[in-house]
């Protein structure tokens, strides 16, 4: 244990890793703060760079950049009332109201301070949760993995902030995309329409880059340019933070816990964590009437929540290759490439790498405070960058970056195609994250489904007879029926109101 920890320390303290952490921190802070560029986009555009880094440095860039970007998205929310990333949307109003009251320091201070604490608590949850789950998962067979994957897909549809039917449709569309090519248990070409490019299937990274980055640029093309912040000098940002931490222990801890739970749920990430936590803060607050007028409570709870969800999103990703959010959906691809194949054995065979991951997470969140403060002080300059000067570069990076992942121009075509798909999905209310989860997990679901059926000789019974498998199956069906129950309850309530 001690030797592993020391080994992990040595891995993180290598110069290339430290430089990677520092550079990706700056990158994440800048990208996250620019409205329209999300943390997922920041991560996706990093992938080609991670190819050429050592495994630990590659993971470090993703962890650091995503954590910084989620915090940094709060900055334009406070200053301009425009969330830098979707994860800040839930409390942008509140933060901006504080700025209008003349307390921008307090709002930004809360964002940086409680983001960092949330990130560290989330990391602790990863440290505590992952190893015992890994031990349990060592006994899993294809039956359990099948249900786990299906449950993951269903969870993503429940928490999506959209119609559950549309979320399931998006997820099924993703599964259908994953059918393309010969990567199926039988090795039969499917839906390739005679194209050699489609034989290899649709690659995950370019489809993510298209759906998250290019689609975002497409939306920005006709959206009005965001206003520029006025130049201002900030006073002390951390003043009063310790006092607030003492004053609001419950919202903070609740935010952390909710963030951790939502992070662990597949496909649901920081943005959903922030929405849920903000509304929880309001519901349980003693002063709910103050919400929306620049009250710190909701900001603390939601700010703590979205950063906590980032770390716990790695739990299912590392254990089962089931992405906890869209960022880890990308990270899983990088882990495979770097020989850190997700699975329970990762925690025994590559224990030092896992400790290194924990250390990087904590380091990144500690670094967030000084670097975040510098970023806040420079923000009014960075946010002045014209959008027409940034988006064209993003388009170019989408193209070259995806090409770099396989030196094949078809990858660039994939980006273009998924840009259009992502644009239309968002426009018509289909959650893109659910589709991405389908693409990422399709092969896994099918593989475990078919292998299990072959093992059981075509019988359905073993899917339900093993104890853990039966629990997982029950949860999956509960997740499927949940929207129906919610609908029935609403109908009953509406009838009660009408009757009264």
């Amino acid at each position: 244990m001690m030797a592993t920890l020391l080994e992990a320390m040595r891995m993180v303290m290598a110069p290339d890793v430290l430089i990677a952490i520092l550079l990706s921190a700056v990158y994440g802070l800048v990208v996250g703060s620019l409205p329209g560029l999300s943390a997922t986009m920041a991560t996706a555009l990093l992938v080609p760079v991670t190819f050429y880094l050592s495994p630990i440095a590659a993971v470090a860039t993703i962890v650091t950049a995503s954590a910084m970007a989620i915090f940094s998205g709060d900055i334009p929310g406070c200053l301009l009332r425009i969330p830098g990333t979707p994860a800040s949307a839930a409390y942008t109003d509140e933060a901006y109201a504080m700025t209008r009251k003349g307390q921008p320091e307090l709002a930004l201070g809360i964002c940086v301070w409680f983001s960092a604490i949330g990130g560290i608590v989330g990391t602790l949850s990863l440290i505590v949760l992952a190893p015992p789950l890994a031990e349990m998962a060592l006994n899993f067979s294809t039956f359990e993995y099948f249900w786990l994957a299906l449950l993951g897909l269903m969870c993503a549809t429940i928490v999506a902030r959209s119609s559950p039917v549309k979320a399931i449709a998006s997820m099924l569309f993703g599964l259908l995309v994953s059918c393309i090519g010969i990567e199926n248990p039988a090795g039969t070409p499917r839906f390739t329409f005679g194209s050699p490019n489609l034989l290899g299937g649709i690659e995950v990274i370019p489809s993510l880059v298209g759906a998250f980055a290019l689609a975002e640029v497409m939306r920005a093309m006709t959206a009005p340019e965001p206003p520029k912040p006025e130049r201002r000098r900030f006073g002390s940002l951390l003043r009063g933070m310790v006092g607030l931490t003492r004053k609001y222990p419950v919202p903070q801890v609740r935010g952390n816990i909710v963030g951790i739970i939502i992070g662990v749920l597949p496909g649901a990430g920081a943005d959903i964590a922030a929405w849920v936590s903000y509304s929880m803060a309001k519901r349980f607050s003693k002063e709910p009437e103050k919400f929306g007028t620049g009250h710190p409570e909701g900001l603390i709870e939601a700010g703590a929540s979205n950063n906590a969800s980032l770390a716990s999103g790695w739990v299912p990703s590392l254990l089962f290759a089931i992405p906890g959010d869209t960022i880890t959906a990308i990270a899983i691809g990088v882990l495979y490439m770097k020989g850190l194949n997700p699975g329970p054995s990762l925690f025994t065979e590559k224990a030092s790498s896992m400790y290194a991951l924990y250390i990087i997470f904590i380091l990144a969140n500690i670094l967030m405070i000084p670097l975040g403060i510098i970023m806040i002080r420079l923000a009014s300059n960075i946010l002045r960058a014209p959008r027409a000067g940034i988006m064209p570069v993003i388009v170019l990076l989408c193209g070259v970056g995806s090409f770099a992942t396989g030196a094949n121009l078809f990858l660039v075509t994939t980006v273009a195609a998924f840009g259009v798909i992502g644009y239309f999905m968002e426009r018509f209310g289909y959650p893109v994250a659910a589709m991405v989860l389908g693409i990422v997990m399709g092969t896994m679901v099918e593989q475990n489904f078919v292998t299990s059926l072959i093992k059981s000789d075509g019988s359905i019974w073993p899917f339900f007879s093993r104890p853990i498998a039966s629990v997982l199956a029950l949860l999956t069906f509960a997740a499927l029926l949940w929207p129906v129950v919610a609908w029935l309850r609403r109908q009953a309530r509406a009838r009660a109101v009408q009757g009264a």
Binding site: A220, T222, P392, L396, L409, A416, R427
Partner: protein, 168 residues
């Protein structure tokens, strides 16, 4: 009940049916009960069912609630901002400029090389976003060269040289 839901729902029904039929034509693996056809058929059937439900407007209540919550938090000034001047087809063209330019990149990059193609992509996107020449030209001149330096030299990505080979 939105028209878009009806259209996208019916589109999904068509896609689901196509996937089901396409899947059912796949050859089975001899000696195995579960072939490569099962999974696409299950997914296709599910997609068709969901599409039908969407076309019928099931679940749209959930969506309206989420939208109302977002609208409640959004800046009312931004929502009521005047739309840009210009005909609708121009806005559509601008929206689809990024994917079209990437397809253009795919078609010509091997012939004319990375830097000239990237110049056109960046320049055109920048203009489509309404940048002045003062910004678009220097950006299009510098960004491709920097991208080439990083991806070709540092990351060793085989970018075609074409008309304008770089000195590194």
């Amino acid at each position: 009940m939105k028209l878009s839901d009806r259209l996208t729902g019916l589109g999904l029904v068509a896609l689901g049916v196509a996937a089901y039929l396409g899947g059912s034509k796949l050859p089975p693996v001899p000696g195995q009960q579960v072939g490569p056809n099962v999974f696409p058929m299950v997914v296709g059937a599910g997609l068709a069912i969901c599409g039908a439900l969407i076309a019928l407007g099931v679940g749209s209540k959930f969506e309206e609630e989420a939208e109302a919550e977002v609208a409640q938090h959004a800046d009312p000034a931004a929502a009521s901002a005047p739309p840009r001047v210009g005909p609708a087809w121009l806005d559509t063209l601008r929206t689809f400029a990024p994917p079209l330019l990437l397809l253009f990149y795919v078609l010509v990059v091997e012939r004319i090389g990375f830097v000239p193609t990237a110049f056109i992509v960046v320049f055109a996107t920048s203009l489509a976003m309404g940048a002045r020449l003062k910004l678009a030209l220097p950006l299009a001149a510098v960004a491709p060269v920097l991208a080439h330096l990083v991806f070709y030299k540092l990351l060793r990505v085989p970018l075609p040289a074409g008309w304008l080979p770089m000195p590194w």
